[in-house]
């Protein structure tokens, strides 16, 4: 233990020399490991403080830091509210009375800003709920918002129940985010642990099941595959650096590494210390979900319906639907959402992700759209200032080379392991080009005379057929494909050695099925025959056609695939792995297992 308290540097050295704890051991070992490493961490935040308190490590220092955080009036808001309550409740038995009083006082004098995103509200109302039940019967004068304990509890429960209902009937808004999944999981873990109302406690536990199952169905060896509502550029180009990898390691046991110790997977958020809340929790992932996350014996299609966050202007629909399609195979994932503006700022519309231990194991394209009007669809501030304001937080919003973006000029059509993505960019758009990410860590990247670009990553082959000319730009980590044609797109096919044979055979097959780019440029429509013989046609006007039949989204399910099934509006999610069934029935608040 002593060496763990030294520094992260010591941890790195030790882990290079020693077998990785998560590889051979099970969940309990990983859980202990998280607490130990976080307890030894010198970076102070509420999670590392909790780890110190739970492991009785460096308690005096933990008390000092917690005292400081409880006093710091500049800290506040939703992150503070839920995580401070998490520390208070998990470590209540070791907190001195003086600290308990100070934490209680923080909820009187500290502003708890509710925020303006779904994850903000989940954190805010979870924190408020737990605080209100912890200190019941207090009058409004004892609370930052002037409301009594009872009022706060009713309001928090009301919103949390409404959020759960919305999520299980029409889908989550900030769905499948490799970063923000953390701030849905942690609040729900705290509620399932500490909610005194049995119904809330049960439903919160069911939400943890659902969030993890939702991730599991699109998980491949530590990667959160496919499209994401919100993702950061560093994680998009290097998927295993995302916090989701830490959650995969923690709950699924994959990949066999400790993220904070491996530079190649270094998380942006340093340690992803929020897993401390999971390590401190009594929640145990049902075996069926772990099995869903790790059984990749057979390829499959997984579909989900999600929703756009509240659109407050420039649309007649408050929460337009999102149609998500993911093809999972043992060696790769290709997944997409239909395109368009489905989330501001951080949308990741489609990608191929390779199962690999190498960095930058992905390939995708995008149109780097940026517009104050887009932001004004979702935020009430003045649209002429919004882009600059968002740039202050997210740094890259107006950057023409950014790797995350929604765009009204991008659309996709996916059928199993084939995808067509089209761009039809209007005149006057700020960045009128499309970019493609080809990582330098690819084993091969060949530009064929037919126009196909053939790429190989280990035993996975990717064929990309650009529908317009483009230039190659060398970046530090990738070859950037850039088309300045207003009308462009890609036809993409991904196959593994098991599906296609040799790389040469894969190339021969695609050469015989080369799309007609000239017709596309002239008509805006492209046709492609997949390796399986299916005929896909797709046009810039959005019409999708498979084997002569129009493809619509009218009957898209909330979940559909071998592991998860649910109808829109029903509130009942069925998990199955062929051995077991687990039904999350939110209409009755029950879990049924078979």
């Amino acid at each position: 233990m002593k060496h763990l308290m030294c520094s992260v540097g010591c941890c790195v050295l030790l882990c290079v020399l020693a077998p990785l704890a998560g590889r051979a051991d099970g969940f309990e070992q990983r859980r202990d490991r998280v607490l130990q490493v976080a307890a030894a961490e010198q970076e102070y935040n509420l999670m590392t403080v909790l780890a110190k308190l739970k492991t009785r490590t460096d308690l005096d220092r933990a008390y000092v830091v917690l005292d400081s955080m409880a006093h710091d009036r500049a800290m506040g808001g939703m992150f503070f509210a839920y995580s401070m309550m998490g520390v208070y409740l998990h470590a209540h038995d070791v907190l001195p009375d003086t600290l308990r009083v100070k934490i209680r006082e923080a909820f009187r004098v500290r502003t708890m800003y509710r925020g303006d995103t779904e994850n903000h509200w989940v954190m805010y109302y979870t924190g408020l709920y737990l605080a209100a039940q912890t200190w019941p019967h207090d009058p409004g004068t004892a609370w930052f918002n002037g409301k009594s304990s009872d009022e706060n509890l009713v309001e928090a429960a009301g919103w949390l129940n409404q959020w759960m209902h919305t999520t299980v009937t029409i889908g989550q808004g900030e769905f499948d985010s490799p970063t923000y999944m953390t701030v849905f999981l942690c609040p729900m873990l705290l509620l399932q642990e500490f909610a005194q109302d049995p119904a809330m406690k049960t439903k919160a536990g069911m939400m943890v099941d659902l969030l993890l199952a939702d991730f599991a169905a699109e998980h491949l060896n530590g990667n959160f595959g496919g499209a994401h509502s919100r993702d950061y550029p560093d994680d998009i180009v290097n998927p295993l650096s995302a916090p989701s990898t830490m959650w995969a390691w923690f709950y699924f046991g994959q990949p066999a590494m400790e993220q904070w110790n491996e530079a190649r997977y270094r998380p942006r958020h340093r340690g992803s210390w929020e897993t401390v809340f999971a390590a401190a929790s009594s929640y145990r992932i049902p075996e069926i979900i772990r099995h869903i996350a790790t059984n990749r014996a057979q390829p499959y299609v997984h579909r989900e319906k999600k929703r756009v966050r509240n659109v407050i202007r420039f649309s007649a629909v408050k929460n337009p639907p999102v149609y998500k399609y993911t093809f999972m195979s043992p060696r790769y994932v290709i997944g997409s959402i239909q395109g368009g503006i489905l989330q501001p700022i951080q949308q990741h519309t489609w990608d191929v992700t390779f199962s690999s231990t190498r960095t930058h194991n992905t390939l995708f394209s995008l149109h780097p759209f940026a517009s104050g009007k887009e932001l004004a669809m979702f935020f009430p501030e003045e649209q002429k200032f919004l882009a600059g304001e968002v740039d202050r937080y997210h740094l890259v919003y107006t950057n023409p080379g950014k790797w995350n973006s929604s765009s009204p000029y991008e659309q996709t059509f996916q059928h199993r392991n084939d995808l067509i993505v089209l761009y039809d960019i209007a005149d006057g758009v700020r960045h009128p080009h499309a970019d493609g990410f080809f990582p330098k860590t690819l084993d091969e990247r060949v530009v064929d005379p037919t126009g196909w670009i053939f790429a190989r990553w280990d035993s996975v082959y990717v064929g990309v057929f650009p529908l317009s000319g483009a230039a190659w730009i060398e970046d530090s980590i990738c070859w950037r494909w850039r088309s300045t044609s207003r009308r462009t797109g890609w036809v993409v096919e991904v196959r593994s050695v098991e599906e296609a044979g040799t790389f040469e055979a894969f190339q021969r097959s695609l050469r015989s099925r080369t799309p007609d780019a000239e017709t596309f440029m002239r008509t805006g429509s492209v046709a492609f025959t997949t390796a399986g013989g299916d005929r896909m046609t797709f046009a810039v006007n959005g019409s999708r056609n498979l084997n002569g039949q129009a493809v619509t989204f009218k009957k898209y399910p909330l979940y559909d695939g071998p592991w998860m099934q649910a109808k829109v509006g029903e509130g009942v999610i069925r998990l199955t792995d062929g051995i077991r069934t687990r039904v999350l029935d939110f209409t009755t608040g029950e879990v049924r297992e078979r």
């Binding site: 009036r73 506040g76 009430p380 003045e382």
Partner: protein, 336 residues
């Protein structure tokens, strides 16, 4: 500037609850809502934002009241309350104080959020209107309960809602799809004749209820002299298209001020017929709000996007920045 910074920090560290502002005195009280500063990050440790106030003689020194870091879009004082009843329109909802800012309560629940503007009814101490991205809401019982009051509005995005200070029961609002008026306390709304969208502000002449002025996003500045049926775009002297704020001089209403996106401040002395930019001394050019001191109408305040407050003491001939620095100031309420 040093005095201002010291003042804010000292108040902040001391955790001083809002000191309360005496209701009457030789000077007006200026309230401003600061949405954010350039250092603001959601959920982080942030510089103090929210409601600040001062007496004009305090110059660059501002006091703070109420919650901090709540995306305070609007501030208002209930007329006739002796500055005891204050409101903050914020991301957290509608805050109310009944003791001049010493204590506050959020009066709305989870179903009301991102409140953009608040307007207490000058004829009814229990009636208040708020504008949100989801519609207009109204309370008739002193903020104990709220009801949606959007019947007849084709856009729910409300930039500004205002209870008429001169016509009882009249309420008007600027929305994403135009301007609307109600004559029954927001029970029903009727569209006014302005056909452009993206209306950011709508103000009424302080004496003539038929005269309105509207500022729009990208469509310019409009006025109506027949109660909102017919609107004309005012172009004489105007080189800009986006106006977020318009203010009448309450003592001499032919004098008007208008400002918006990189406009600086425009002034008209002929009832809005012609305009002139009055930018001497301005260090920023984009403004979100304007207010004329009713006690001394030579004194005009302009709330800047990222530039704090600029003040003139000579009807716009010369301007000076008085802080808070680097602040987005979204509303100003001056109480005589």
């Amino acid at each position: 500037m040093r005095i201002l910074t010291f003042s804010l920090i000292a108040a902040f560290l001391a955790g001083v609850p809002a000191a309360h502002v005496a209701a009457q005195g030789p000077e007006s009280t200026v309230y401003i809502s600061v949405v954010a500063t350039k250092l603001f990050v959601v959920g982080a440790a942030n510089p103090q934002t929210g409601i600040h106030y001062q007496r004009p003689s305090a110059d660059t020194v501002w006091q703070h009241t109420g919650a901090v870091n709540i995306r305070a879009f609007g501030v208002a004082v209930h007329p006739g309350s002796g500055q005891k009843v204050l409101y903050i329109a914020s991301g957290n909802g509608l805050h109310k104080s009944t003791d001049g800012g010493a204590t506050w309560r959020i009066t709305t629940g989870w179903s009301i959020t991102e409140v953009q503007s608040v307007s207490p009814d000058p004829f009814d101490p229990d009636r208040v209107y708020i504008g949100t991205p989801y519609g207009v809401y109204r309370t008739t019982d002193g903020c104990r309960t709220w009801q949606e009051a959007s019947a007849g509005l084709s856009s729910r995005f409300i930039s500004q809602v205002t209870a008429s200070p001169i016509v009882k029961g009249q309420v008007y609002c600027a929305t994403e799809s135009g301007t609307y008026i109600s004559i029954d306390g927001a029970s029903t709304w009727a569209r006014m004749g302005l056909s452009v969208g993206g209306v950011r502000t709508l103000v009424q002449h302080p004496r003539d209820p038929k005269v309105f002025a509207a500022g729009t996003e990208d469509h310019g500045l409009y006025m109506s002299t027949d109660g909102g049926a017919v609107w004309t775009r005012r172009e004489a002297g105007i080189d800009h298209l986006t106006f977020y704020a318009i203010a009448f001089d309450p003592t001499a209403p032919d004098t008007m001020y208008a400002a918006g996106y990189v406009t600086g401040v425009y002034r008209s002395v002929d009832g809005g017929t012609s305009w002139k930019r009055m930018n001497e001394g301005l260090s920023v050019l984009s403004f979100k709000c304007l207010a004329v001191d009713p006690r001394d109408s030579r004194r005009v305040y302009a709330g800047a996007y990222w530039g704090g407050v600029c003040v003139t003491r000579d009807r716009g001939e010369h301007w000076r920045s008085v802080g808070p620095p680097d602040s987005q100031v979204w509303s100003i309420s001056i109480q005589p």
